[in-house]
Point group: C2
Chain length 245, copies 2
DNA sequence: CGCATACTTGAGCCGAATCAATTGGCGTGG
DNA sequence: CCACGCCAATTGATTCGGCTCAAGTATGCG
């Protein structure tokens, strides 16, 4: 039980130490892992919503289809992330989810979440923090879509993913696998795929980001941070667990 | 105690009936109301974050200043809304808040929220639902900024506010006070103020929305809904409280 | 080897930005 | 009651970032 720590437990420990019983409660959420393959749809907009998922391994994204045939990518999910928290308050899915790589995921029903609210103040606090953090990421993307040009948008997306990967994997170097096609990046940034291609060329010419296939290298992190107006407040996470326990 | 129901209690009862003790717990959050005047800053980006606020009356908005001198409006808050949930997980404010009208607000510290997590599963569930709902509104705005043109963006913003007002005030007709300048609307939609002006002219010519001063009238709600691809899923909120109690 | 999918590159166009001048409403003070 | 000034909104002229359409190049897979 000890050595083989589940992904969600690792994710939660980011917020502070967990007691034996909390760990057990959490691990109950990750039984019955399901394997999925790249491109697979987990659910679609309008499906009944009654459970959330953890991503044990792999990448996924959520999206909304627009009437005119285009779509907006809302979120990119990485290993350890929780998917579907948004719909806790709703009966239907507000967005679809597709896998970007072969993945392993665990589903658990909203009712279990409420059981946790009843049984563990500490886990409740962490779940609430995670929901708050997701909101913060969304507002950051709002800034990205509203007030930045294509160059800054693209730099920001790559940098956000880099920071999120580094958060759970501190020894990450300055390059990583990015299983997003230019079309998906375009749909996330409100651009056309053609222009995303041009923008990556520019980022390459400026010696800031090099993307080849599904692999990106950050060539000049300092300049990246200055272009996107990076603020370290991102990292200043709160620690309430001392108060809780 | 009965007749004079506080705003947050009314907001929470939207999710289901509350017990005597839950109501008391909630009301404890709304003691010491503070009056503020239009234009006042509640807090700025980078300020220490340690409390959330309820808006008893009045309107407010949150924003991020961008390096190039522009800014992005992230949220518009209406009476009964909860402000600052986003920063629960962080030590600093990620965005500033300003009042749009003279308002009455109540502050309460994050620690009290955790007390509620410990003492009431029902209120915890509601708080979690509210956080989830805020996330959903943010993703809807992401679609707005990413994949709609100025005409649709503007129609959507007005319509979103209309629906949110109507949610807590069902007998609302087809017009209401909108205390947002065209500059603020521009900052919310990622447009220039000049273009917002032109867009409202267009909406007027199309007999869809009429805005004069701070008053808007929805002239053709059906056509509005079709332009922005309105989906009723917005309204299909979940009811977990039966499970909780 | 051939096909499908992803990406690149060019030409022309369009929606929204910017700059600049003007109008209108409203509060203040004479 | 009018003159002044401030701010919000309108209108026009011009520019520009990113889109669309279209053709061509990799790359990977059966």
């Amino acid at each position: 039980m000890s050595g083989n720590e589940s992904c969600i437990v690792r994710h939660f420990k980011h917020y502070g130490p967990l007691s034996e019983s909390d760990t057990k409660l959490l691990q109950a959420l990750e039984k019955e892992p399901i394997s999925g393959t790249s491109g697979q749809t987990l659910w679609e907009e309008g499906d009944k919503a009654g459970e959330i998922c953890t991503i044990k391994s792999g990448w996924a994204y959520s999206y909304r289809n627009i009437d005119d045939g285009t779509r907006q990518v809302l979120d990119v999910f990485l290993p350890g992330d929780i998917v579907g928290l948004r719909e806790f308050a709703f009966k239907e899915r507000m967005s679809g989810i597709k896998l970007l790589t072969d993945s392993v995921i665990c589903r658990f029903p909203h009712n279990h979440l409420i059981d946790i609210f009843r049984d563990s103040t500490k886990l409740t606090t962490i779940f609430f923090s995670i929901s708050a953090r997701q909101q913060t990421l969304l507002t950051e993307r709002l800034v990205n879509l509203g007030r930045r040009n294509a160059f800054e948008k693209t730099a920001h997306l790559v940098y956000e993913l880099y920071m999120r990967l580094k958060r759970t994997n501190p020894e990450l170097g300055n390059s990583f696998e990015l299983p997003l096609s230019q079309q998906i990046i375009a749909d996330a940034l409100g651009l056309s795929a053609v222009h995303v291609s041009r923008t990556f060329s520019e980022l390459r010419e400026e010696n800031m980001i090099c993307r080849e296939r599904n692999h990106v290298t950050l060539l000049d992190i300092e300049r990246l941070e200055s272009v996107i107006g990076f603020s370290k407040a991102y990292l200043q996470e709160q620690d309430y667990l001392s108060y809780v326990s």
